[in-house]
């Protein structure tokens, strides 16, 4: 097969549908990555316009065009959009677009999940935008502190839009995080061991793991606050055993790692681009990987530094102050590694490099003011002033927006296949850099003079007028700069001339393909022997196009999309994967998921069970379509190697995906237990007036159910493996999960007066959590039974059994903990 024939065949297999309908059915990572980025940039512009409104309002004491009610909505939506609808989705978009190309493979691990995540993001973001158009947008600040946001003080629908809309959007983040984690660990080119991974993949891996463990506390907080608002369960009401500080803990358990979730991908962009701009290799690759991991972990020990003024004892303050100063060390390791890279190279001042230099100056200033506010006495002075707003913009704009602009200009020739023609970017950079520093240096100053954040106006005699005017002028200069970037990108994408391949002479694999990239990325997959394969072997693209790599021959029958996975550590080929094709299932599932959230928002609760049923049916169809009625023999991948298909292995992509999804789930559950312990220890009104009445029968029945389900699913797997019928064992497992469900329902029914005290409310949620997982495990076992009944080739195709076992075990373990949390306090008196 010649190169052109291979290209045509692979394009026919991998391409999205033509025209508008292709937008709704594509599962291709290149298309979805672009869609993510364009949508995120749209939200960036909306958030930017809101920022301009804020600066217009504060420019003089007399320029108030919005009353406090509308102004509250403006600054809340500005923060919310920039954090949740711009920064995180930009990382997702960039990772979705780039990772398979950097890793030398054809797509991400779960293409339909990518599409589902994208549509959840679009629908959830639209929900928030609609609220703004109707003047009922969230108005409690982007961190939504109760009691201000409780039903008593914020009775309207505004807060519900935030709680429900953001939770909906976070499905997208969790989906992307699972996707990215599994893809980086398993979906790489053969030979790409951990030490040969491109540095951006390390950053993306760490960021994805942080999303999996950082977002669940906020999802939990949102669920609890919405339950309080909708059904009067008093988790945050001090007079009924709740505590508003619980929200702050849950929010900042998410909120501080979030800062690093935003920064780390940007640092990944810097570490990728900087060596190319300096014509050298990255200094201290191993040190940077270690520093990134250290930074990620330390960021989870900083959350209380946002709560220094809440009256926490000195020792608690000291723990978090110490951890907050420590985090400067791994950050500095990276900064010094970058400086070293510049030192040993020959820097060329291309446009991406200008943005990198802008990043350096801005981010270092933001880091230094960060160390200032990590010191408790200073924080007490600066807390809730414009100084903090200025600090966070230095960190987030400096640490994210400059690197992202560097990335956009660096990969623009890759996205479009064109070369820069309109040299507007340099002017735009100057305006952005100058405008930014005028705006936020002034804001530091006015903050130190005592201007509180979030005020809608101020008095002339406060003495802040001139500084605010300067800050607003800076803001508008910045906005003009960003508008010029937008104009240049649009002109570039539509009119510029075709560019040459690899214009920067980079060494990473994303440039080993024609640009814009074909739907299949690589005509054949490379065998990687170094971190910069293209630098070592400039002839690699031509050889891959000729079919010298793996999986060079498209399947002779059908239109199966295929790739291969590798061993995590060594990069040795592991198993073969066949992907699903284009499908509208992701957008439909996202729409039905949206219906679920909308029913909660509009309090049309009769729709909720219909939506849940719809999600369950579509979820079933999603997995069912992946079954085989005939065995999948080992598949040839080229170079004389045959690999087992993923449906025949225990650790399939589905198993890995489930394992990481359960990591997020376990964090959610752990946060719930933390909340329970926190309320019991710290909140007023504890111990509760009445404890849950323990029952030995219920406890024993629950334990028996969990034991039966866990043992039976193992016996079912054993029977299936040796060719026996697993049906009887599956029925037993079903009975076990059924028992667990019954015990959880009993717990929910017997929880003492949930609206009367946070204790009963927490038990109700714990019971609901157990019931949900028991129901999920039950559905999965029923699915296996349907597979067996449908005569799918189960003996060889054992991957689904392993996945179900994971979920059954999880339901059992969390079930035991729920039973203990409910029954033990009463039993111990």
């Amino acid at each position: 097969m010649n190169t052109l024939e291979r290209h045509r065949k692979l394009s026919a297999i991998w391409a999205s549908e033509r025209g508008l309908k292709g937008w709704f059915s594509t599962v291709n990572h290149t298309d979805l990555g672009r869609m993510f980025l364009v949508t995120a940039f749209f939200f960036f512009l909306v958030g930017g316009i809101l920022a301009m409104l804020i600066r217009a309002q504060l420019a003089t004491p007399h320029s108030a065009f919005a009353g406090p009610d509308i102004y509250n909505q403006i600054f809340t939506m500005h923060g919310t959009i920039m954090m949740f609808l711009f920064a995180i989705p930009t990382f997702e978009g960039l990772a979705v677009y780039l990772l398979p190309k950097l890793l030398g493979t054809r797509d991400l691990a779960f293409p339909r999940l990518t599409a589902y995540g994208y549509w959840c993001y679009v629908f959830g973001g639209t929900m928030l935008l609609v609220s703004m158009l109707f003047g009922i947008a969230p108005d409690g600040g982007w961190f939504m502190y109760p009691p201000l946001t409780g039903a008593i003080h914020s009775p309207g629908i505004n807060t519900d839009f935030w709680l429900i809309g953001i939770t909906f959007v976070e499905i997208s983040a969790i989906a992307a995080a699972v996707e990215i984690t599994v893809s980086i660990l398993k979906f790489r080119a053969p030979g790409m061991s951990l030490d040969k991974m491109p540095i951006f993949a390390w950053y993306a891996l760490v960021t994805a793991l942080m999303i999996l463990t950082g977002f669940p506390p906020l999802i939990l907080g949102s669920v609890l606050l919405e339950l309080e608002r909708a059904f009067g369960l008093p988790f945050f009401q001090a007079d009924l055993g709740g505590d508003s500080l619980l929200w702050q803990h849950l929010f900042w358990l998410f909120g501080h790692p979030e800062v690093y979730i935003i920064f780390l991908p940007a640092a990944g962009i810097i570490s990728t681009i900087l060596p190319v701009m300096c014509r050298t290799s990255l200094l201290g690759y191993g040190w940077i990987v270690a520093a990134t991991l250290g930074l990620a972990f330390l960021s989870f020990g900083l959350w209380v530094h946002h709560m220094f003024t809440t009256g926490i004892p000195h020792m608690g303050l000291a723990f978090f102050s110490a951890a907050s100063t420590l985090v400067a060390v791994p950050t500095s390791v990276q900064i010094f590694a970058w400086i070293g890279t510049i030192w040993k190279g020959r820097p060329e001042l291309h446009l991406p490099m200008l943005h990198i230099l802008g990043f350096f100056l801005t981010f270092v200033i933001g880091g230094l003011t960060g160390v200032m506010v990590a010191v408790v006495p200073f924080d007490w002075q600066a807390h809730d002033t414009a100084f903090i707003t200025a600090h966070l913009h230095y960190v987030l704009f400096g640490g994210f927006v400059f690197p992202v602009f560097a990335g956009i200009y660096y990969w623009l020739p890759h996205f479009t296949g064109r070369k820069r023609f309109f040299r507007l970017g340099e002017v735009a950079f100057a305006l952005i850099f100058i405008g930014f520093h005028i705006t936020f240096l002034a804001m530091h100053w006015v903050g130190l003079l005592g201007q509180r954040r979030r005020i809608s106006t101020y008095q002339p005699e406060d003495g802040w007028t001139m500084i605010n005017l300067i800050s607003s002028i800076g803001g508008f200069i910045l906005a003009i700069g960003i508008a010029i970037v937008l104009v240049e990108i649009i002109l570039h994408a539509m009119t510029a001339n075709r560019g040459k391949r690899n214009p920067w002479k980079a060494g990473t694999l994303e440039w080993a393909m024609v640009t814009p990239p074909p739907a299949y990325n690589f005509a054949s997959l490379p065998h990687v022997t170094s971190r910069e394969p293209l630098a070592d072997d400039p002839g690699l693209p031509a050889r891959l196009a000729r079919g010298d790599g793996y999986l060079a021959d498209p399947p002779t029958e059908g239109s199966r999309r295929e790739t291969l996975t590798v061993d995590i550590s060594t990069g040795r080929p592991d198993y073969h994967v066949a992907y699903p094709g284009n499908s509208r299932l992701p957008i439909i599932l996202a729409a039905v998921t949206g219906l679920f959230f909308l029913s909660l928002l509009l309090k049309t609760y009769w729709v909720t069970p219909l939506a849940v049923t719809g999600v369950a049916i579509l979820g079933w169809l999603w997995v069912w379509s992946r079954g085989h009625k005939k065995d999948m023999p080992p598949q040839p991948i080229g170079r004389g190697i045959k690999l087992a298909n993923s449906s025949t292995v225990d650790r399939s992509p589905g198993w890995w995906g489930s394992a990481f999804l359960l990591t997020a789930d376990a964090t959610f559950f752990g946060s719930l237990l933390f909340g329970f312990a926190f309320l019991w220890t710290v909140a007023p009104g504890w111990p509760p007036p009445a404890l849950f009445e323990p029952s030995a029968l219920e406890f024993a029945t629950g334990l028996a159910g969990m034991g039966i389900s866990a043992i039976s699913i193992r016996r079912a797997i054993g029977a299936n493996r040796v060719g026996d019928k697993p049906g009887a064992w599956l029925v037993m497992a079903l009975a076990g999960t059924g028992l667990v469900a019954v015990i959880c329902i009993t717990l929910m029914l017997r929880a003492p007066a949930p609206p009367g005290h946070a204790y009963g409310a927490t038990l109700l949620v714990l019971g609901g959590y157990g019931l949900f997982h028991a129901a999920l495990a039950t559905m999965m076992i029923l699915f296996l039974m349907a597979r067996v009944r449908g005569k799918f080739a189960m003996t060889a195709c054992r991957a689904e059994f392993s996945v179900v076992k994971l979920w059954v075990d999880y339901a059992a373990v969390t079930g035991v903990l729920i039973l203990m949390a409910a029954h033990l306090p009463g039993a111990l008196g």
């Binding site: 270690a290 990620a296 608690g316 723990f319 110490a322 995590i568």
Partner: protein, 107 residues
Amino acid sequence: MKDLLRILIAPLIWFVAFSSIYGLHGLICGHGLQAIQIGSLSLPRPLLVAAYLLAIGVQMVVLGALYSAQFRSRSGFVRFVSRATGWTGLVATIWSLLPAATTSYCV
């Protein structure tokens, strides 16, 4: 997977120790344990210091394991990164939990 565990184990232990000692501090102050005396010493200080030393001890054992022939990775890169994160875990434990031994509690 074992290599990932080698890389992540020390920071994970730091996080568990950090959360546990912060939780212990909460329990001490929330349940009035500071009033309990052991001889001339009030109970919380020895409890907090013991937890602090235990956390340091566990980190040192882990670091030792990462250097030992039995547990170290075969990959030179993983050996380097896991030892670096091992040192990160130890230093983070010593520094961030130092207040357990030095500052006042429940004030």
